[in-house]
């Protein structure tokens, strides 16, 4: 099955990319309050069922897909298209 993992910086961590993007667009006349930039990772676990897939993904995350010191994540089930 396909799972989408949204990896973002933890709320209290400074997002230097988001800050630069926000300021640049503001200079161009397009203002918004905040901008946070993260990563979208799509993993296809093949024919594994939901429980096994989740276990696999959790292992992948813990083994380094995300940095627990500064990042957080959430997992989404994606339609099998």
């Amino acid at each position: 099955m396909k799972l989408g993992i949204k990896i973002t910086l933890q709320n209290q961590v400074l997002d230097v990319q988001g800050r630069a993007v926000q300021k640049a667009f503001e200079r161009d006349g397009l203002k918004f309050d905040d901008c946070r930039i993260g990563k979208w990772v799509v993993i296809d676990t093949g024919s594994l069922d939901k429980e096994s897939s989740m276990n696999l993904i959790k292992k992948v995350l813990d083994q380094g897909l995300y940095n627990p010191l500064i990042e957080t994540y959430c997992i989404e089930e994606l339609d099998n298209k």
Partner: protein
């Protein structure tokens, strides 16, 4: 008769702006620094150089935020009037974001920044920006996002229109067809990843950059 200066665009984060400025001076040309937020007085200049560095930290996409600035957008107007425009490294990335040059520069295949000297072949000479009879050059590269990419269709068009300007003898970053630099169809806009301004004296390690500008 007074010679018009070359304008060097300066963005927040440009690092090679002063290097390019000095290099152009070394080749006895008049040169002026242009701030990104000021509109270009196009007619006052002989041409424009977009220098290397990390404009806006390379955030979002390399060169993307710089391409939004008034000076960068004015380059489109300058191109319509056929003004010479040169993009070096980050500058090349900006010109691609502006669609003044086709394709895009992606992360190096190794996913690491590479600093080294490379051997280049001049595949199709461009007399606007380089005065030399040489067929090969040695210049330094220093980039993390130098992998040139374009669709197969675009690649064919580049070949047919002789827009492939420089190619690496040994591909350091995975660029399609070893492309190190390209030009637009009219040949007035050129972009390259290597840094000619870093090869303008023997003590720098090479002088092939002197035939630029």
């Amino acid at each position: 008769m007074s010679v018009k200066p070359i304008g060097v665009l300066q963005f927040p984060g440009s690092n090679c702006d002063h290097d390019v400025f000095k290099a152009i001076q070394r080749v006895h040309k008049k040169v002026r620094m242009l701030w990104h937020r000021d509109h270009l007085q196009i007619e006052d200049y002989a041409g424009f150089v977009v220098p290397g560095g990390f404009s806006y930290g390379d955030y979002l996409r390399s060169g993307a935020l710089a391409a939004m600035s008034p000076a960068a957008k004015d380059l489109m107007e300058a191109n319509k009037k056929n003004y010479p425009i040169l993009g070096i490294c980050n500058g090349f990335q900006v010109l691609c974001e502006l669609k003044l040059l086709p394709g895009a520069l992606l992360k190096n295949e190794s996913l690491r920044f590479i600093d080294q000297w490379v051997h280049l072949k001049i595949t199709n000479a461009n007399k606007t920006w380089v005065k030399t009879e040489k067929t090969h050059l040695q210049l330094p590269i220093a980039h993390g996002q130098g992998r040139y990419y374009c669709s197969e269709e675009t690649l064919k068009s580049l070949q047919d229109s002789r827009q492939i300007w420089l190619q690496y003898e040994e591909n350091p970053n995975g660029s399609v067809m070893n492309i190190a630099g390209i030009t637009n169809k009219d040949g007035n806009v050129c972009g390259l990843m290597p840094h000619p301004e870093r090869a303008t004296a023997d003590w720098m390690g090479g002088t092939d950059g002197l035939c630029f500008f």
